[in-house]
Amino acid sequence: MSFRQIQERSVKYVLAGAASTSIVIVALIFLFLFREALPFAKDPGLGALVGSRWMPKSFQGAGYGLLPLITGSALVTVLATLIAIPFGVCGAVYIAEVAGPREREILKPFIELVAAIPSVVLGFFGLIVLAPIIKSAFGLMSGMTALTGAVLLALMAVPTIISISEDAIRSVPRAYKEASLALGANRIQTIFKVVVPAAMSGIIASIMLGMGRVVGETMAVIMVTGNAAKVTLSPFEPVRTMTATIAAEMGEVPFGTAHYRALFWIGIALLIATFFINLVALRVLKSYRRA
């Protein structure tokens, strides 16, 4: 083997090593989570995770039922996505198809700025401003509801949806639009009957990625959703999400206790949820690139 061959090969190893770091990290996170979580299966037993009572500090026997946390996260995520879709998609259509270049130059940086606001600042805004508004708008007893969290999270998902959807809409071939206009369709008809359907898989992928961000968000929801661990599907009730539970309880939990291990099971559930959402997003995105 010549010197040159050795040199080339070593460079290749270094680069490949750098490129595969993230695979290693994901694998290690999974390993670590399971290592910490598994003893739970022996002591209280995995059956303890199936239940609607999350009450880890109790003199009446601790409850580790994940159901209220899962429904809490699901409720907030679905609501946030439903709120974010119209804003995100319409915003993307406007920027890609209607806005002039000057407008686009102003709009895009501001939308990206929203994504850059630290979530704890948004949470504070939610607690002081949004919660009282939602309380009086819907005549509720308390403004700390799933809806309040969902509105904040929608704000965080919109920039993701806009930038990826816009990309998808802009990459629709010009010929489609020209053909539609030549056939006598007006601009609005062309946008909503031709361009948007053609970009649909990209738009769906952007929504899924936005959802991925929403599921994992912690600080904003811990401050505004009230964190009451009960099973509910009403947007006007307080909910406790999986992320908020980990953040609130991990700091004080004694190592190696059942409570500690239960928190790792929440982590696993969360990881599986985001993994699944991202997987679907990637699948959809792939099919749209191929089309």
Binding site: S20, K57, M144, G226, N227, T257
Partner: protein, 302 residues
């Protein structure tokens, strides 16, 4: 051509797998080597004291630290909150010198300390009373301990059941990492579970915010916070039994023992206090230190 391509591909794959394995080996070894060494890291010899724990006590501990550092410029004190449980965990893990706790140590924590060879020593440095607070417009002025228990366990859900308006009660509480949460659970709820409808809020200031914002909310906060919140909150008088007189939480009623919901505030160290840490503990219980306690809205030890 085709063959060369596939060979190249499989070669690359082998490279990747190899690198992944090497990285796993390297990263996997790391923590094991360090885990034996550095658990008892923090010490108080360098003229620096770290204090961590109860959010309730952050006010008064910071005031003590400021006053103490003015007198002893050679000592630096850092104060952080996080909850009593967080503080005790940090003390046991050796990441803080002093733990501020608004509750007694649990049996589990004492055992964990013993098994690590630590001598946990507890000093009562102040007293605190929990005020039961409601919105200023709420007509309810007094509650019995039993009524409070039933509200927090979910047996009473409407203000009309305790002499108020026909509104459902919004129960607010601290998160379970809080010493106040545990104290309330043990001494007011008498170890019954909180209602699942209780809002668990991440900080006392969030309780103040939501009670001052909602006419139907009830919450519990330390005496110091009531001072600060002023007219935004209303404390209710507490009756030990249905026939007993209602007692408002004040310095006098806490000291005399007439007010039912009060507790000692503690500073805990992991080994016999020496040097700067001992000086600081002595300062806290001195007349000067106790004057600071009163200024901060808490109650003196004696």
């Amino acid at each position: 051509m085709k063959k060369a391509e596939t060979e190249m591909y499989s070669h690359n794959l082998r490279t990747t797998v190899f690198c992944v394995l090497v990285s796993i080996a390297v990263l996997g070894c790391g923590p094991k080597q360090t885990s034996t060494g550095d658990t008892q890291g923090a010490s108080a010899t360098g003229g620096e004291i770290s204090i961590k724990g109860s959010d309730t006590m952050v006010h008064v501990v910071t005031a003590w630290a400021d006053a103490f550092m003015k007198k002893r410029s050679d000592i630096k004190i850092s104060v952080t909150g996080g909850g009593s449980g967080t503080g005790v965990a940090a003390l046991l893990n050796g990441t803080t010198d002093v733990c501020a706790s608004s509750r007694d140590l649990s049996e589990e924590e004492k055992k964990a300390g013993e098994s690590q060879g630590l001598k946990l020593s507890v000093t009562i440095v102040a007293r605190d009373a929990l005020s039961i607070v409601v919105h200023p417009s709420n007509p309810v002025n007094e509650l019995t301990l039993e009524q409070i228990e039933r509200i927090y366990t979910g047996a009473i859900t409407n203000w009309s059941e305790v002499g108020g308006a026909n509104e459902s009660i919004v129960v607010t509480s601290r998160e379970s990492s809080s010493g106040t949460y545990m104290f309330f659970l043990e001494h007011v709820l008498r170890k019954k579970d909180y209602t699942q409808n209780a809002l668990l809020l991440p900080a006392t200031s969030a309780i103040v915010q939501s009670v001052s914002d909602s006419s139907s909310a009830i919450g519990y906060v330390g005496l110091g916070y009531v001072h600060e919140a002023g007219a935004k909150l209303k404390s209710v008088g507490v009756k030990a039994t249905p026939d007993a007189p209602a007692v408002m939480p004040t310095t006098e009623t806490v000291l005399s023992g007439a007010y039912s919901i009060s507790r000692p505030l503690l500073l805990v160290v992991a080994k016999e206090a020496t040097g700067p840490v001992k000086d600081f503990l002595d300062f806290c219980v001195s007349d000067e230190g106790q004057a600071i306690v009163e200024e901060s809205g808490y109650v003196k030890v004696q």
